[in-house]
């Protein structure tokens, strides 16, 4: 039976999302955010979610809408506040959302660790700061390092440019960002793409995320400009 990860709809692509789950969401600023999939999660009604994403959403749609809905009780990110992050800011100020702030490089390295079978790693980032409070530290070659744990998720929602039926992905420009590491770090990786290509059409030297890290692909051919 041929491998075929192409899923016909957003609703089917996000099937299985449940209350209490941890969801990774790709994107940096407005580049590479899987807005259709996020709205699929919103439509699913799942609540009490933990979101892992570099930012905390801006504007009124996408991640901001999910946070604004009150369904996200915890967020793990590096830079929640941006111009337009009002929906997050208000919930944060009101103490309605828990924030785990993680240095940005530690955030993606923890995802990679989860994806690569690393049980933990030592990094100098954050040593001696509040963000390392309570963490194990160690002097290595005269420098202080912090032990960081792998970061996994139940589901990763990723936006990419092209996919084939094996789930191979290429991205576009700086929209690549967290997609490849999130795809490695989740039990279920769901990807929205702008274009589906035939198997063998992608340059094998240029595949960024090989299909082994991808479970479902959904083709989104609208060119909607989201308010994010």
């Amino acid at each position: 039976m041929p491998i075929d990860k192409i899923t016909p709809s957003v609703a089917e692509a996000v099937q299985g999302v449940k209350d209490g789950m941890t969801i990774m969401i790709s994107g940096f600023g407005f580049a590479g955010v899987p807005n259709d999939l996020i709205h699929g999660v919103l439509d699913s009604g799942a609540k009490n979610l933990t979101v892992i994403s570099n930012n905390a959403g801006t504007g009124t749609e996408g991640l901001a809408a999910l946070i604004g809905s009150g369904r996200v009780t915890r967020i793990i990110c590096s830079y929640p506040r941006s111009k337009g992050s009002d929906l997050f800011d208000a919930r944060y100020a009101a103490g309605e959302i828990e924030l785990e702030l993680v240095p940005q490089g530690t955030l993606s390295e923890r995802m990679r660790a989860a994806g690569a079978g690393i049980g933990g790693f030592f990094t100098p980032t954050g040593a001696g700061t509040e963000l390392a409070a309570g963490k194990e530290t160690r002097m290595i070659d005269g420098r202080e390092y912090v032990l960081e744990a792998p970061l996994r998720a139940d589901i990763a929602l990723v936006q990419a440019q092209e996919a084939d039926r094996w789930g191979n992905l290429v991205y576009r420009k700086a929209a690549r960002n967290f997609g490849p590491v999130m795809a490695m770090a989740a039990d279920l990786t769901v990807v929205q793409v702008k274009r589906i290509v035939a198997l063998g059409e992608m340059d094998p030297e240029a595949v960024v995320t090989p299909g082994i890290f991808v479970d479902r692909v959904v083709h989104i051919d609208n060119n909607r400009e989201w308010d994010i």
Binding site: I3, A116, G117, I118, W166, G200, M202, P204, E205, I212
Partner: protein
Amino acid sequence: MSVAELELGVTKLTRPQIARRAAELIPDGSFVNLGIGIPTLAANVMPAGKDVVLHSENGILGVGPTPPEAERDRDLINASKDYVTLLPGGSYCVHSDAFAMIRGGHLDLALLGAFEVAGNGDLANWTTGDRRFPPGVGGAMDLAVGAKAIWVLTDHTTKKGEPKIVNACRYPLTAKGVVKRIFTDLALIDLTEDGLLVREMVPGLTIDALQAVTEPKLTLAEDWQELAAA
């Protein structure tokens, strides 16, 4: 029954036949690594229509069969350093990414060779300790702990006729308790919680004869079948 008699009595599988039987049983859609030795032969005997993605730890996903001699490419070899091809949908990656796939638990299955397999699933396949033959661990330890399941493909005995399926490994371990299934030139054996269960034997072989060249206690499955060479 001596090994010599056993060898007279039955036709053993060839190495490609061992690989073929394993290939037949790989679930459709699996991502599979083929270790050095008999396992890499599986790429050439994959049943038609089976959509399996073969991984090679040097940085290939979607390995295809051996090319004709005229189409050999010195930049396209597998972990056994044999010439291979790339299937449509295949891709190349950095070595550390190939091992992220392995170590991160993304492979459904790894087919490995063995010096010895113990009844408890312990695997030894990287050194004999003999200084004339330098050790070579390669990706064996990574695969043994990283793949979701480990199948071993091996001759049933050493060239001297000694059992390779043993009560306890004498050679240094590759990993503890990881082997789930063994394909040999004589039989297909599952390592279960209740011990070694013989699923298939080559035509003419008896469980007693198989037991004579196997250290741990074997149980013949009620629904055992003949291990037919494809």
